[in-house]
């Protein structure tokens, strides 16, 4: 992969279910992410996607293209227009830089748009090197040091 390489777009239907379950699995119980009346009382027309779900979708968009074992180093996300139920979020990305350090380090610029405009702009840095879990610290076995 080289600088300037576009990633294939990913189209995500923003269902009410995605918004609510996204909030739940990120442990975000703010009412605006699951209660339409509470969202309206705060000036939004409906529930809207939380930032942690947007983070997750952007991250998996990038890692799924880099293959198993790609490791994220940095993720910077700025939100624009909200994602409401019924929207369609289209993520697009371009690899903007590639460097060789300890493995291949890529920077990907990602944008996500829906019917009302730009929902997210993000910069993701990843290393294409499988993570290996370090061996557990030595525990004193039978007859070992106390």
């Amino acid at each position: 992969m080289t600088g300037g390489t576009p990633l294939p777009p990913l189209v995500i239907p923003v269902t009410r279910t995605l918004i609510v379950t996204g909030a739940l699995v990120t442990r975000d119980f703010q009412d605006v992410h699951h209660d339409p009346e509470a969202a309206r009382a705060k000036g939004a027309p409906d529930v809207f996607m939380n930032i942690l779900t947007t983070n997750g979708l952007v991250a998996r968009y990038v890692t799924s293209h880099l293959g198993p074992g790609a490791t994220l180093r940095r993720l910077a996300v700025r939100l624009g227009v909200p994602n409401y139920p019924g929207d369609t979020l289209t993520l697009t990305g371009t690899v903007t830089s590639v460097s060789e350090e300890s493995g291949e380090v890529l920077t990907v610029e990602v944008t996500g748009t829906n019917e009302r405009g730009r929902h997210v702009t993000a910069t993701v840095t990843a290393t294409v090197t499988a993570v290996v879990r370090p061996a557990p610290a030595d525990h004193p076995g039978p007859g070992g040091e106390p």
């Binding site: 995500i12 995605l18 379950t21 996204g22 739940l24 699995v25 990120t26 442990r27 975000d28 119980f29 703010q30 009412d31 605006v32 009346e37 509470a38 309206r40 009382a41 705060k42 000036g43 939004a44 939380n50 930032i51 942690l52 779900t53 983070n55 997750g56 979708l57 952007v58 991250a59 998996r60 890692t63 799924s64 198993p68 074992g69 790609a70 490791t71 994220l72 180093r73 940095r74 993720l75 910077a76 996300v77 700025r78 939100l79 499988a130 993570v131 879990r133």
Partner: protein, 323 residues
């Protein structure tokens, strides 16, 4: 500046807010769960992440879950004796609430991942209030951006840095000021409100002549008897009449607000609010059913309504909506 300048004074508020920059937002706080395969699997299911490195008992946690491990979820504000928010941060948020900035929305997030997280990792974190912006007007409303920087550790080792920016704002479009008026509960109506608290809709029936009545009053308008029994209504009814209120704003209600009189199946009529239907969908005779709403109206997550329920009505489910 007057020494009496309060939080409604912009300059005074800006100075008071700025004083929180650099103060801790969380000190030696602990993530509520150790890193675990179940939460990893649930997250991957929803995000559509099928990378095999996140599967099974030895799964590595997706890096973008970093903040998930420090989320409070539905836990009480303080648990286990470890406050996850510092007093300074609580004060700052309360100051903004008092200034009318009761709503919150996240706008930016920057995360740096220094070490992968594995099942069994114990999460601890410290956070600092990095900045509090001057007053800003946005599409959502007017408020202040608050940026925090959190250092997240696993087993004491720095695993990630999480910078998060929220906008605390006064909603621009609700057209409502102040809390919803609370119901008037007195000796004559206490029985009705006790029923509502238990999600039962109660009306009175005269013991002597059998006439049903609502609202609750001590005596029967037909025979004058003061003897009565409380009867539970089914909650089903129809719209007897209604008014769509566009103006003036009703505190705590979303405008336009639908006020109506419901004729219950049992024959009594009840003045109430009709929800869940657009004004053009309302009609006399529309079948409705009761539900119980928190009288607190807006307020932030965690519920600030004080638990006072009120009965409201919404269109009854029709046959073709069900399976």
């Amino acid at each position: 500046m007057s020494p009496l300048a309060g939080p409604d004074d912009d300059d005074s508020l800006a100075l008071r807010l700025a004083a929180y920059e650099g103060r801790p937002a969380a000190v030696a706080a602990r993530g509520p769960d150790v890193v675990n395969p179940a939460m990893i699997r649930h997250w991957c299911e929803v995000m559509g992440d099928t990378d095999p490195v996140h599967q099974g008992p030895g799964a590595v946690a997706p890096a973008a879950m970093l903040q998930v491990w420090i989320m409070r979820g539905g836990a009480p504000r303080r648990s286990g004796g470890t406050p996850e928010r510092s007093a300074a941060y609580e004060e700052l948020l309360a100051l903004l609430d008092d200034a009318g900035c009761t709503a919150v929305v996240a706008t930016d997030c920057e995360q740096e991942y220094l070490r992968p997280l594995w099942p069994g990792d114990v999460i601890t974190y410290d956070a600092v209030i990095e900045s509090v912006s001057p007053r800003k007007t946005t599409r959502l409303g007017t408020g202040h951006f608050v940026t925090t920087r959190t250092e997240i550790r696993a087993g004491g080792e720095l695993a990630g840095v999480h910078r998060f920016r929220i906008l605390k704002y006064a909603p621009a479009r609700t057209g409502t000021q102040g809390p919803r008026p609370r119901p008037v509960i007195n000796r004559d109506t206490a029985g009705f409100w006790e029923g509502v608290a238990a999600r039962r809709l109660l009306f009175q029936r005269c013991t002597d002549c059998g006439t049903p009545r609502f609202p609750w009053v001590p005596g029967c308008a037909d025979c004058g008897s003061e003897r009565w029994t409380a009867v539970r209504a089914s909650g089903a009814g129809t719209v007897y009449t209604y008014t769509v209120v566009h103006h003036p704003p009703v505190p705590g209600a979303t405008m336009p607000h639908c006020a109506g009189v419901i004729e219950l199946a049992e024959g009594v009529r009840m003045a109430t609010e009709i929800r869940g239907v657009a004004p053009e969908g309302l009609r006399v005779g529309l079948p409705v059913t009761v539900e119980y709403a928190d009288a607190g109206g807006g307020g932030d997550a965690g519920g600030t309504g004080g638990g006072q329920l009120i009965p409201v009505f919404r269109p009854a489910a029709t046959r073709d909506e069900g399976p």
